[in-house]
Symmetry: C2
Subunit: 82 residues, 2 copies
């Protein structure tokens, strides 16, 4: 059976986010004076075939560690879709 | 008061996602044979100061149209955080 997951990846707290800083400045320059903070993350949607939901999730965790996320600089959360 | 929003941006259906295609192939090559589909999106977290939640949300919608998303190629959803 095929299971769908969404992986949300964000920078660890304290690391600089130049894309967010630049976007905040651009929004302020456009007249959105109320913007106080902008930060970026990414999401990866993965469909995986597995025998059980548990096997699917452990596969996704292994993918995150091996390829999808950078555990040194990023944190990730895994969400199973219905 | 400051309101926090998360904007999720994804490519419109039918547009090619070369990053997703390449990641799917890489996962298959790493031995994750069950992976059938991978697609990428991005999230932007924005903190905005406004008088009311309604004003904050309408500001966020204007930001999406003017700068954050590309309405030709992308769809976005806005989620207010507690």
């Amino acid at each position: 059976m095929t299971y769908s997951f969404t992986i949300s990846i964000a920078r660890k707290a304290g690391l600089s986010d130049p894309e967010g800083t630049t976007t905040k400045k651009a929004l302020n320059d456009l007249g959105f004076d109320g913007v106080t903070h902008v930060s970026y993350g990414r999401t990866i949607s993965v469909d995986v075939t597995a025998a059980t939901p548990q096997e699917a999730r452990s596969n996704i965790e292994a993918m995150c560690e091996k390829l999808l996320a950078n555990p040194v600089m990023e944190t990730y959360t895994i969400e199973a879709l219905a």
